[in-house]
Amino acid sequence: MTDQQQEQSLDPAQIEVDVRTGLGAPSADVTEGRQNSLWSDAWGQLRRNPLFWIGSFLGVFFVLMAIFPSWFARGADPRACSLTESKQPPSSAHWMGFDQQGCDYLANVVYGARTSLTIGLLSVIGVLLLGVIIGAVAGYYGGIADSLLARLTDIFFALPLILGALILLRVGPSTGLPILSDRGAGAVAIALSAFGWMTAMRLVRSQVIAVKSQDYVAAARAMGASNFRILTRHILPNAVAPVLVYSTITVGVLIAAEATLTYLGVGLQRPAISWGLQIENGQSLLRTAPHLVLFPSIILSLTVMAFIMLGDALRDALDPRQRS
């Protein structure tokens, strides 16, 4: 029983109606005694999973880094550079050394967290918006709408994420569209959402199909609930658990995709501070100053790892069938 259903069965007004009509009046023990919901069960599982704790620790660490970068930069300003320090290796005063322009590299890597996390978050919101809406419509209405939307999903699914986003971002600046043409975080998020929503759509669609023939949906319809209300209040809450698992992992995947696109030259542009730009810049200096590629790479990987570990732990907790 999900929280949603539980909440409904305990709605006082509802109980009153049931008692008056004499239909399905809940017996006293339903309301008494603690019931294990999906979420409290999941929390019990999560607490015992080391993956969850490592993932949350890393996640909180990088979120703090994104919000308060100055806490982590050890007093250095990422834009205060002096060419005399160019490509200096790490030292005790400057843990990550200096980049080619002589800027403190630790400060630069730390300030890169904000762009990465912002894009990860923005694009996962975009992916969920597209995926949930298209998936819900396809699954709920079925028939022609479903076939058309399923074909549309097939078309997008056959295009690799990086390739689609690469083309869209390359042509973005000359389209003159508001956010897409300014080559910033918003453009990257739009490109990633536009080519990354398909799995979310399939997830939501299959959940909706599985749930829509349940008795309580028929009951809601019999009581005159509108399609929109049935979808948002009765059907979609059932898809929350798998979608939550999927979106946690996807934040990590999208952060990696952003760094890749920026590395390929179509994502963020200088003077933005971004791990992808730092890796791209350090590439040609791999022989003389390997730390310029290594540090942003390590931090990028740890960030991606945080979300993938959290997602894995959530899946183990929320989906008992896949529990290892």
């Binding site: 993956l51 078309i155 990086i162 890749t260 590395y263 390997p290 590629v293 790479s297 790892m305 993938i308």
Partner: protein, 307 residues
């Protein structure tokens, strides 16, 4: 079966056309002028520009351009790039390189992934199993871009075991990029095999086989593996289609002149015809290998019937 395959083949046509039109629209619906970009600093004379525009159908409305493109496609004319080189020639030039890279990647994926997964699954929760779980989590978490640079730095630059970039040393130069390209799928294959084997180890027919007194080896090879490998084989099959189109980053870092590299260069140079041609080919591979896998599934597992 035959009807199922025919139906699936018919369904691939709208997906192929849809995907190529999507790319076509993105590349050609631009207000920008590729001819002016081609000319660079010295402006072309209006007559030459107009002639070039007509040659590449740049003046027509989008749908007309696309219809002309499809018409040419029926006699295998994919158009040319702006230097008059046929796209088909570019593809036939670059595809063997990507095919080799994919072959190496699939080899690593199958061999390492399967072996690790089988041993982890047989002794679930043992030392090796935990090692596989931790290392696959690590591999999945490291972006392929980072993995490419790390391996290039460690094995190419520091240890000098492999060439850093390029394909001048034949098959040997494909080993490192192939391993990098395979890494994600390799971890996935190991996990999939592990779960599948572990599940089948508890199955009734395995207990029966043991009760008959069959030796451990035979039980594993004949009974457990046969059933647990079905999902793995299908995953690897579908992955061939994905790998053939997903090597842009690996090919960029290791400077490998395959179709991933070609499409990347074409996107940068706004070579519309090349982009559309190669991407359509990639989509075709993806769909084709998925279809093959679906059919294979029914062949491998007689319980599955499509009709």
């Amino acid at each position: 079966m035959g009807r199922y395959v025919a139906r699936r083949l018919l369904l691939t046509i709208p997906v192929l056309i849809g995907a190529s039109f999507l790319i076509f629209a993105m590349v050609y619906a631009l207000p920008g002028d590729p001819i002016r970009a081609l000319a660079g600093d010295r402006p072309l004379s209006p007559a030459v520009a107009a002639q070039l525009r007509a040659q590449f159908n740049l003046g027509d409305p989008l749908l007309v351009q696309y219809a002309k493109y499809l018409g040419n496609l029926t006699h295998l004319d994919l158009g040319t790039d702006f230097h008059n080189r046929p796209v088909l020639e570019i593809i036939s030039d670059r595809l063997p390189v990507t095919a080799k890279l994919t072959l190496v990647a699939v080899f690593f994926e199958a061999v390492i992934g399967l072996v690790a997964g089988v041993f982890a699954g047989i002794r679930r929760n043992g030392y090796f199993d935990n090692l596989v779980l931790v290392s696959t989590t690590l591999i999945i978490s490291i972006p392929i871009l980072v993995l490419a640079f790390l391996s290039q730095y460690i094995f190419g630059l520091k240890l000098g075991w492999f060439p850093i970039a390029g394909i001048t040393e034949g098959w040997y130069s494909y080993l490192l990029p192939g391993l990098v390209l395979a890494s994600g799928s390799l971890a996935y294959v190991a996990r999939l095999t592990r779960t599948s084997v572990a599940e089948n180890m508890r199955a009734d027919y395995v207990r029966t086989a043991r009760a008959k007194g069959l030796p451990h080896r035979t039980v594993i090879m004949r009974h457990t593996l046969r059933n647990s490998l079905i999902p793995v084989v299908t995953f690897i099959g579908a992955d061939i289609g994905a790998l053939l189109g997903g090597a842009i980053v690996t090919e960029a870092v290791f400077n490998i002149p395959g179709i991933g590299r070609a499409v990347f260069d074409a996107v940068r140079g706004q070579e519309g015809a090349v982009v559309v041609g190669i991407v359509t080919l990639m989509v075709f591979f993806f769909i084709f290998f998925n279809l093959v896998v679906d059919v294979l599934y029914a062949v491998l597992d007689p319980r599955i019937r499509y009709d």
